[in-house]
Amino acid sequence: MGYDLKMRIWRGDQSGGDLQDYTVEVSEGEVVLDAIHRLQATQSGDLAVRWNCKAGKCGSCSAEINGRPRLLCMTRLSDFDQTETITVTPMRAFPVIRDLVTDVSFNYEKARELPSFQPQPRDADGKRRMMQVDVERGQEFRKCIECFLCQDTCHVVRDHEDNKPAFAGPRFFLRYAELDMHPLDTHDRRALAQDAAGLGMCNITKCCTEVCPEGIRITDNAIIPMKERVVDRKFDPLVWLGSKIGVRNRDNDGRTDPRDPD
């Protein structure tokens, strides 16, 4: 059974724009991206929208639906009343390019700032070994589809453009955590996470976790563990005392920070 869906869609670019009203015929079982595609096909051929897989796995169609950061392809029309007007805008934390398309290059710049995996030398037989339980630990973080909805909703950059140079954002704290929990990695990124990536800016209000379409517990499993690891290194008086009297810091556990003088 089809019905007429009322939509408000933001149209414009950096020189200006506004919410425009549309009515489009939709069917039960469709998602918001279907409605936008039909709109594009039948009424508004120049509507810009970024999309790719339509299966919630490519992370392209991130936008804001009724003010909430969501994937257009994973938001079912059946979640809304048929008489309701659905408002769709581009992500509001990033510069808009046109209509629903934003410039997310901020995230790629942050990705480049993050030192990549630096494994230990191979074993004598030329292999590297990890136990299954250690492999599983990072799997949750590997589910990230880089939709950047967590970056979009994070108030540290969403509400404060001036914080962008100093703050990597939840998606990259996820990566910092994944690497720091990796038993074969040798790069101690704890100080880097706190200083260059701005982990201390996060006030753990958990919006990143709320919007993650993959259900990754970003705050509980990545950001807070990274904060605790920074505390191990930086705010733990026993560790500080141990380093001052020359007791080896066992917390380093195979990691070295190239920025450390010793």
Binding site: D18, T89, H160, D162, K234
Partner: protein, 265 residues
């Protein structure tokens, strides 16, 4: 004001939308409830902590005053009175520890940053502040002391558990008795333990800090168990807040003679 308008979601490069949020759900309800309930608790706890009386109704000792290390009434000090000369309420000597634990708790931080500081009030709702430095500067950098308060909270939880044992006495301190106060204190201490053990710092200390779970199977098991508890940390935070206030209220009313303890045996 004009400067503020150009930042954040109203910044020059962002999509031009006047509204601070386009959310249509009741996003304000959760921070409002948090504000009212936490605010009520803070007022209640402050009043009770400064009262300095009606905290002991034999054999029950209010959790706000335990351990009672100041110049406490007879029977209340099970660990001596090393601060007998302390001129103010005995609660003020020890409350810094549970208070510090909760103030720096990762869950409570989320709750009060949203409800009291509106930073942000809810997800994708623009905050009213023009500048933000998070937890990088004094005083908020002190949030990193959470694990030290956690150590103290473990001691406090042990003391409260001891208080529950002592509550299996009658008013004359004879063993083998039980009243409604005992039940309330028992429920409270269970939730205090659940809250304390589900703490993120606890999760980190027991195993989260490791890089090789496979080399530490016992700690891995402990971490798995604490992770299960940790998923309910917020729930335990709320319930233990209510339970501690309820036990104190019950003992307050008993001590004032407003109600009589319901004795089971």
């Amino acid at each position: 004001m004009a400067t503020e308008e150009r930042t954040g979601v109203r910044g020059a490069t962002r999509a031009e939308i006047e509204a601070r949020t386009l959310r249509e759900d009741r996003w304000w309800l959760s921070p409002l409830v948090t504000f009212v309930v936490f605010g009520a608790f803070v007022i209640y706890a402050t009043v009770r902590a400064f009262m300095g009386r009606d905290y002991y109704a034999s054999p029950y000792l209010s959790p706000f005053y335990s351990p009672c290390l100041g110049d406490c009434v007879e029977g209340a000090s099970d660990f001596g009175q090393p601060f007998k000369a302390w001129p103010l309420s005995a609660a003020l000597i020890i409350l810094i520890f549970p208070l510090g634990f909760r103030m720096t708790c990762y869950y409570y931080r989320k709750a009060y940053y949203r409800a009291f500081w509106l930073s942000p009030p809810a997800c994708a709702v623009a905050e009213p502040h023009s500048a933000y430095s998070g937890e990088t500067r004094f005083p908020l950098i002190l949030q990193n002391l959470h694990r030290w308060f956690w150590y103290a909270a473990l001691v406090i939880a042990c003391v409260l558990t001891f208080d529950v044992v002592l509550a299996f006495r009658n008013a004359e301190h004879e063993w083998g008795h039980m009243g409604l106060g005992t039940v309330l204190m028992l429920v409270n201490v269970v939730y205090i333990w659940l809250y304390t053990l589900s703490c993120h710092s606890c999760r980190h200390a027991v195993g989260g800090r490791l890089r090789h779970f496979s080399k530490h199977p016992v700690r891995y098991r402990l971490w798995t168990w604490v992770s299960g508890l940790n998923a309910n940390h917020a729930r335990y935070a709320w319930i233990s807040l209510f339970s501690v206030a309820l036990v104190d209220l019950y003992i307050w009313l008993l001590a004032m003679g407003v109600i009589e303890d319901v004795r089971f045996f």
